[in-house]
């Protein structure tokens, strides 16, 4: 006979487990709180960030950053690079890099860096939110995983507020577009959000019109499953700020548009589905994704032009970790990504933040506006809820 799985001894096990749980609740709760408050990214928990600042790896790294900074003062970009290479070799000749840039673009970047400096890049690649969460978890356990990081602006804000970053100063910043610079993180490239459509389905001379027209497009269209930061900028800066609508009126446009939309996760997935003909139009995708597809397959029936204005840009930023074990290598990598690395990124269709390098988004053709990650972040729950409400169309039903 098979023994029943849920007989009384097993219930006893459950009770014992529950008791154990409440017994060890105190200690584990305390530590998991550290994680959660850190991941909330507010400064309201000085114990976690400051505590970490005083101890171990973090203190050592911050002192080391200062030492290196003083040593490099006044050097030209070229001389600075030579000196950083020497120092990075002394550290061990490699840099631990956590980044959200997709593999197609990060592999050439890493290769160019290694060719130029001889320093190895040990790369952990994952989605931007995941990189951010991992860094917070590692910081909470005082584990030095990354030296240098690339994540989107909204995750950069969280890391900055959690106090795990080190400030970055370098002469290369003189070449970077001013809105891309903050004390702790520097835009490595801009990502433009545009609609994309299938030219076979809607015609070659299709013009989507204004943002309002795009959102209300009546054919088969796709909304993003998660796009709250964009929603925040669109509503606040464009519909309310420029057109003078109320917030509620602006949201209503999104809601009405979503009624006949499919909700599809992933910008590149939406682009692929547009190319395949599943939808006529997707209201928001990354412009470089479309450019990249057209670069690989010029006959793909997709385009994002002419785009409605303003086109919102988002920073994807590079930053140094406050608990880096290879601070010189981290600085070297950041310098590289913001200078020579920008050529590699531009070549892959990304939009450089270094104003001396051309390529990426055609700024001369469109009026652009920069998304403010802090504006979204300060009311993240509200915008997340709104996007969720819009895309669930108020109903969750089985069909």
């Amino acid at each position: 006979m098979e023994r029943p799985i849920f007989s009384s001894p097993s219930l006893r096990i459950f009770i014992v487990a529950a008791l154990l749980l409440s017994a060890c609740g105190a200690s584990t709760t305390a530590s998991s709180d550290t994680t959660s408050s850190q991941s909330q990214g507010t400064t309201s928990d000085p114990a976690s960030s400051d505590g970490a600042a005083e101890s171990g790896f973090r203190a050592t790294a911050l002192i080391r950053y200062d030492e290196i900074g003083r040593e490099l003062e006044g050097l030209s970009l070229e001389a600075r690079r030579e000196r950083l290479i020497e120092l990075a070799k002394k550290e061990g000749g490699s840099v631990n890099f956590y980044g959200s840039t997709n593999e197609n673009d990060s592999i050439p970047l890493v290769k160019a860096f290694k060719d130029a400096t001889g320093i190895d890049v040990i790369q952990y690649r994952a989605g931007t939110a995941q990189v951010g969460q991992r860094l917070l978890q590692e910081a909470a356990a005082n584990f030095p995983g990354a030296d240098v990081v690339i994540v989107s602006g909204s995750d950069a804000v969280i890391l900055e507020d959690a106090g795990v970053l080190a400030p970055f100063r370098s002469p290369v910043l003189e070449q970077i577009a001013e809105p891309a610079i903050t004390e702790y993180w520097i835009g490595a490239y801009f990502t433009a959000t545009v609609p994309v459509w299938n030219t076979d389905l809607v015609g070659l001379d299709f013009n989507p019109g204004t943002w309002e027209d795009v959102l209300r497009y009546s054919g088969a269209k796709a909304y993003a499953a998660i796009d709250a930061p964009w929603l925040a900028s669109m509503v606040n800066d464009y519909f309310v700020g420029e057109l003078g609508l109320t917030e509620e009126e602006a949201l209503q446009i999104f809601r009405e548009g979503a009624e006949n939309a499919s909700i599809v996760r992933g910008s590149t997935v939406r682009i692929n589905m547009i190319a395949a003909g599943q939808y006529d139009l997707a209201v928001s995708v990354n412009q470089h994704g479309v450019a990249g597809l057209l670069k690989r397959a010029s006959d793909a029936p997709v385009t994002w032009e002419p785009a409605p204005e303003p086109v919102f840009l988002n920073n994807t930023a590079i930053m140094l970790m406050g608990n880096a074990t290879n601070p010189a290598a981290a600085m070297l990598w950041a310098d590289f990504v913001l200078s020579d690395g920008q050529f590699v990124l531009a070549e892959r269709g990304r939009t450089p933040t270094n104003v001396t390098i051309e390529g990426g988004f055609p700024f001369d053709k469109y009026r652009t506006a920069l998304q403010n990650p802090r504006f979204y972040f300060e009311d993240a729950a509200k915008w997340d809820d709104l996007w969720e409400e819009i895309t669930s169309r108020g109903t969750v039903v089985a069909r």
Binding site: G25, S36, A129, V269
Partner: protein
Amino acid sequence: MSVQESAEVQASSNALSVGSGQEVKDGADLRDLESRSKGAFVLIFSPKMLLIGGALLVIGYLALTPLLYLLNGTFFGPDGLTLNAFRRAFSSTSFGSLTYNTLLYSMGATAVSTVVGTALAYLVVRTDLPFKKLVVATAIVPVIIPGILYTIAWIFLASGRIGILNTVFQPIFPGGLFEAYSMLGMIFIQGMDNSPLIFLLLYAGFKSMDPSLEESARMSGAGLLMIARRITLPLVKPSLYAAILIMLVRNISSFETPALLGMPEGILVYTSRIWRVLNRQPVDYAQAGAYSFVLLVITAVGVYLYSRLQKKSRSFQTVSGKGFRPTPMSLGKWRTPIAISVMAYFVISVVLPVLVLMYMSTQTYYAVPSRSSLARASLNNYVLIWNNPTIQRAWQNSLMLAAGTATLTILLTAVAAWFVIKSQVRGRSAIDTVAFLPLVIPGLVLGVGLIFVYLRFPLPVYGTLWILLIAYITNALPYGMRYAGSAIQQIGNELEESASMCGASWAQIFRRILVPLMAPGLLAGWIYIVIISVRELSSSILLYSAGTEVLAVLIWDMFDGGRLPELAALGMVMIVLMTTVALLAQKLGANIGIQEGK
């Protein structure tokens, strides 16, 4: 006496003899204990007890750690015990519709897999179905294809707008024949994707079944259907219930199909909600935990019902001391129509999706196949994945982890399952429950829990392959227990008892009697665990680090990066390689298990 009566009498007499065997064994155990009571120390530290104790400790540790983490994170806030997480979880989302969608989807898909998988396993093992070898070789293909790819292939086959099948059948069904983006589409595609798992579970069950009962029924003139209903199905009931339960829980916790097919049309289930919550800033782990807890409760109800069913139904030990040579049953006049249906199933579940993948792997982007798109075909994507260093490393990591996980889990659970089923120790069934727990813990939660524990662990586990191995073994425990359990259950006590009477030690019995007899079941379990380990995504995606990337993560990454054609190429390579591995394992297994009657 009618046919079924005679068969039932035989079956119950079989059960009776098992019962009396049990009593004899109880008596023997008692005497055993008495004679050794002076040397309790010797008893506890005997190799047998050490082995069993060790296995139980490991299982308990692996299974309970993430559960405690989940419960703690969900129910304990900064101010102690709280239900706030549940308030947050169900303030914005209707509990009713989420639960309804989740149950409808998972039960529907389970029904599809169960019917298809069971029928297929029965036909292959117990009848004279033609091209059996082909069926065995290809049956597991859908489960080798990464879940994301299988679903995508089906979007391109059956989407109302661009599905190839809809285009082909348009003259007949102008309104469209299929719609992948619907509840029915989700149920059908997930059901097809998982039917090989049922096939594998029941394949072993049917294989080790004493066919003499069926034969006597047939001799007495019973028809094929009656034999299946009255004799065969009751005999494999333990395996069948276990398979249904596993499938149900798997479907409840599945993510790819609901995300790709349900979410676009607003059909949300718990996993898509959890995904959404984990993508919010700041991440509300407690809220995700609240949803997970509801899943846990739903599953617990399932497990409870399962145990009730198990108790009510008699189960039979079908591997007895009598020699048996399974001879296949003749399908008679049904042979051709059944063979045609089986072929149709393979065309639908294997050939069509693989053809779509093959086509996609030769393109730069997916377009509905046409003369011009076929003219663009190239093997560039295969070159790309061949030259990608991360993919090469991921292959090594994945195969190493999968083989390691499968071997260790099977060893661990074979010992534990023996303890649960054959020993007479009180409370032994608790082990079964504990080993079952990981099934109800979503992979993402397991991942978060393991990161928390091993970031603070004195040994360097975090950031290495070890943490993945721990996650994979935890994840595989329930399956190992089911496979090993079903395999052991069918072995009559008389075999062990006679060996014991002849003076064999427990280790000898385990090695020379139990393991060979369990081999078909254990091997099916091994293959199954290899496959689910290679596919495991939800905890891997949190646990990998630089250098320990695994295939499933890269697949997700390529999908997320929109590199569908490259992904299709990788999928094709996986299909070829993993099918070969599975076939080799089956070949090897045929030599160590019971020899098939020739």
